[in-house]
């Protein structure tokens, strides 16, 4: 298994990390970019060195937006009914209020999925109600927690189409649905909707399998959507899951990410902004950059393997403070070839690790998948 994984990773590396292939070659070189480029020469060793990471909260990714503008990202609120969990509600409200206070105001808010925890009508309606606080245009993409109780019925009723596109000031934005095409793991086992959702809601579960994917039909739609777009103009793609392989056991990927890359390969300035991982994350695959966003609900630990070497990890958080390690994202698109992402982590001046001890992986660990997935259906021992 490990040998096979190594083989696949070597193959991935040889295909996607060819010399000279990087996103956005024509961007202006700033100090930050200089630091970033210098990193690439030593990428194999930086994750051990804890010394050469770039300042990736400000990165140069896009190319010549027609006028500067801002937008905001909120995701992974994982709302339970208010009567059960007020903390998640409080954090969603705080994010919405922060977005509302942005000055100059954001052009739009993107909600990146997992509004609800168990996909219940009252959870989705609660989320919709809380986000009404934000009156700028809002765009929504679903997360798996929003979908698998009623297979997206309520979500679609509230938020419309899962895939969408629009242009704003020289940037083409695309919203992708990476959650609704999971393989059917429920019919043969005669699961109730609640059981189906229960398996889907366990990040470390194995029953729901590799559910994250874009799907052929949506890939074709994306190719058609981009067909008339200048290949040197910026494209920003929103998705719930990262569009590359980080850690499949937690669906920190989409299973057809190679096909996604094939569609995007001709475009030189592609930025993927995604949720699901609840952590600071940065990667480059071919000509696409990917940036992982914070949740408002809780932070996930970094996966036991596969963390991109270009990621400067977020700081180890205090689990006693439920506002620590979580937040939202403020994005600025400049006319000077830059997109800036600011992680709005509440109560923290320093978002990134400053020493090996600040990293949640500073204690080496070996972990394994849960055992009770072999005992379907869940039963008391």
């Amino acid at each position: 298994m490990a040998d096979e994984l190594d083989r696949l990773r070597r193959e991935i590396h040889s295909v996607l990390h060819k010399p000279g292939v990087r996103p956005d070659d024509s961007v202006r070189i700033t100090r930050r970019m200089f630091v970033h480029r210098s990193l690439l020469f030593g990428a194999a060793t930086v994750s051990q060195a804890f010394a050469w990471w770039p300042l990736i909260n400000t990165i140069d990714v896009a190319h010549a937006a027609e006028a500067p503008f801002k937008f905001a990202w909120i995701s992974d609120t994982h709302l339970y009914p208010r009567s059960l969990n007020q903390r998640f509600v409080d954090k969603t409200v705080r994010a919405a209020q922060d977005v509302k206070k942005m000055d100059p105001p954001a052009e739009f808010l993107i909600f990146g999925g997992d509004l609800a925890q168990l996909g219940k009508i009252e959870e989705l309606e609660l989320g919709n109600e809380l986000l009404k606080e934000v009156t700028i245009p809002k765009y929504f993409i679903p997360g798996e927690h929003d979908w698998y109780l009623d297979m997206g019925k309520k979500w679609t009723e509230l938020f419309g189409k899962n895939s969408w596109t629009f242009d704003l000031k020289g940037v083409r934005f695309i919203g992708l649905d990476t959650v609704s095409r999971g393989p059917d793991y429920w019919t043969a086992k005669k699961m109730t909707p609640e059981e189906r959702m229960g398996h889907m809601s366990a990040l470390d579960g194995t029953v729901a399998g590799p559910w994250a994917g874009v799907g052929r039909e949506q890939l074709d739609w994306m190719a058609k959507t981009l067909a008339d777009w200048d290949k040197n103009k910026p494209v920003i793609i929103f998705s719930h899951n990262p569009l590359y392989e980080y850690y499949p056991p937690w669906n920190f990927w989409v299973r057809d990410w190679r096909d996604v890359h094939e569609v995007l390969k001709p475009y030189t300035k592609v930025t993927n902004i995604h949720g699901h991982v609840h952590q600071v994350l940065y990667n480059e695959i071919g000509t696409m950059r990917s940036i992982g966003m914070l949740a408002t609900s809780w932070p996930w630990p970094y996966a036991p393997e596969g963390l991109p070497k270009l990621t400067k990890p977020m700081i180890r958080v205090d689990p006693g403070d439920h506002f620590d390690g979580v937040g939202w994202g403020k994005w600025s698109v400049g006319a000077d070839d830059k997109i800036e992402n600011e992680y709005m982590m509440w109560g923290r001046k320093q978002v990134f690790v400053q020493s090996p001890e600040d990293h949640d992986k500073s204690i080496p660990e070996v972990i394994r998948p849960r055992i009770v997935d072999n005992m379907y259906p869940f039963a008391n021992p």
């Binding site: 366990a202 470390d204 036991p304 204690i363 070996v366 972990i367 869940f378 008391n380 021992p381």
Partner: protein
């Protein structure tokens, strides 16, 4: 003189007997080589606890109820911050735990998580639920190297 040597001999015999008894253990101890059946029984006993712990760790309400514990009142479960038992670091305990500002065991840490993030009810450190949680967390981290005291 004869009395002294008899006493000395008796004392040596008693001492040797005591050492042998200590090495052999009580008369009911297993003196035979372990059998595959025994190994399976021992492993089954362990895995039964691991499975209970897995269910508790993932917020299974029926298991919590059957074991008489309230590990959370918010819907939050241990696995939501610790998928696959990650970031629990059982192999780093005991240690000074900054969040508690004290020298702590894994059981102390489990109870802290139940009370603070989960807003549940602290459990008896000797309870079946605690042992099951401990079994699952250690099993999840099988192969991790002991680093007691590591921050």
């Amino acid at each position: 003189m004869a009395t002294d040597s008899t006493f000395l001999c008796l004392r040596r015999c008693l001492l040797a007997g005591a050492v042998m008894a200590a090495l052999a253990g009580p008369s009911s101890a297993n003196k035979d080589p372990v059998t595959p059946q025994q190994l399976k029984a021992y492993q089954d006993a362990f895995m039964a606890e691991v499975k209970k712990g897995d269910l508790l760790f993932h917020g299974d309400a029926a298991t919590a109820k059957s074991m008489g514990v309230t590990l959370s009142t918010t819907g939050w479960a241990c696995a939501m911050c610790h998928p696959m038992g990650s970031d629990t670091h059982p192999h780093a305990f005991p240690k000074f735990q900054a969040s508690m500002a004290k020298f702590a065991t894994l059981r102390d840490m489990i109870n802290w998580c139940i009370e603070k993030p989960n807003q549940g009810e602290k459990i008896d450190p000797e309870s079946a639920a605690m042992k099951a949680l401990e079994a699952y967390i250690y099993w999840s981290n099988t192969g991790s190297v002991l680093v007691p005291g590591k921050y």
